[in-house]
């Protein structure tokens, strides 16, 4: 039973990793359109600062949380994903609020 479950778990992990690699490769090859993320409109010549701020803040939140989660102890009776530090939540909320405020202010 344990062997089958382990193989199944490994298969799921490999599948998830392959899906992630496939999407990343497609984005890097340009098969998934990823251009213009920092522009408000396609016709804009310069980037929007609030988008740069949002783009900088969310990877910081993700990396911060991933570091916490990878060091979590799950050998307890009720294993759980770790709580997100308050700082990271504030950072993400702030970044997204600025992004949405910019979108509202620019009227699009």
């Amino acid at each position: 039973m344990t062997t089958i479950a382990s193989l199944f778990a490994a298969g799921l992990l490999i599948w998830f990793a392959l899906l992630t690699v496939l999407i990343v490769m497609r984005v890097l090859n340009g098969d998934i359109f990823a251009a213009g993320m920092l522009l408000q409109n396609e016709s804009d010549s310069g980037v929007a600062p609030e988008r740069v701020l949002a783009m900088a803040s969310f990877p910081a939140v993700i990396i911060g949380y991933a570091m916490v989660a990878l060091h979590a102890d799950v050998s307890t009776a009720h294993p759980s994903l770790p709580d997100v530090p308050e700082t990271l939540i504030n950072l993400l909320t702030g970044g997204n609020a600025v992004y949405l405020a910019g979108k509202i202010a620019r009227g699009n």
């Binding site: 998934i32 990823a34 993320m37 993700i62 989660a69 997100v84």
Partner: protein
Amino acid sequence: MNAQLISLISLAIFAIIVLLFALMVLWKIYNDEISLRGLLAEPADAPTEGARRAPLYGKASLSRFQFLIFTFVIAGLYLLLSIEAGTFVDIPNNVLGLLGISGGSFLVSKGMSGSQKKKPDVEITEEDESGTKVTVKK
């Protein structure tokens, strides 16, 4: 055939079916039968004057990208920790809140873009040179 053997065979069959299904999805994505081209793109605007048809996709959306990355990271960590623990791990409320902030931003952003693009028509009734009333949509 005892109950343990039956459950073992059932588990093996179930695992094979799920993994084959997952591999089929991955294969179809790889062959572009399931297209991911517009995964991050916003819907294209209406065709400009003189253009034959609108482009298939607009520019990439920051909120879509953010939502995608958050979903992948949380799902990946959940899968990893569940396998490590040997059972389903709990998801704390503030992790769901994190996903909610990201998803909420995406929805608000979509709502704002949609309301800007869909401007209401205004009907104006005018009289032409012969005195006939004509209703024009502007």
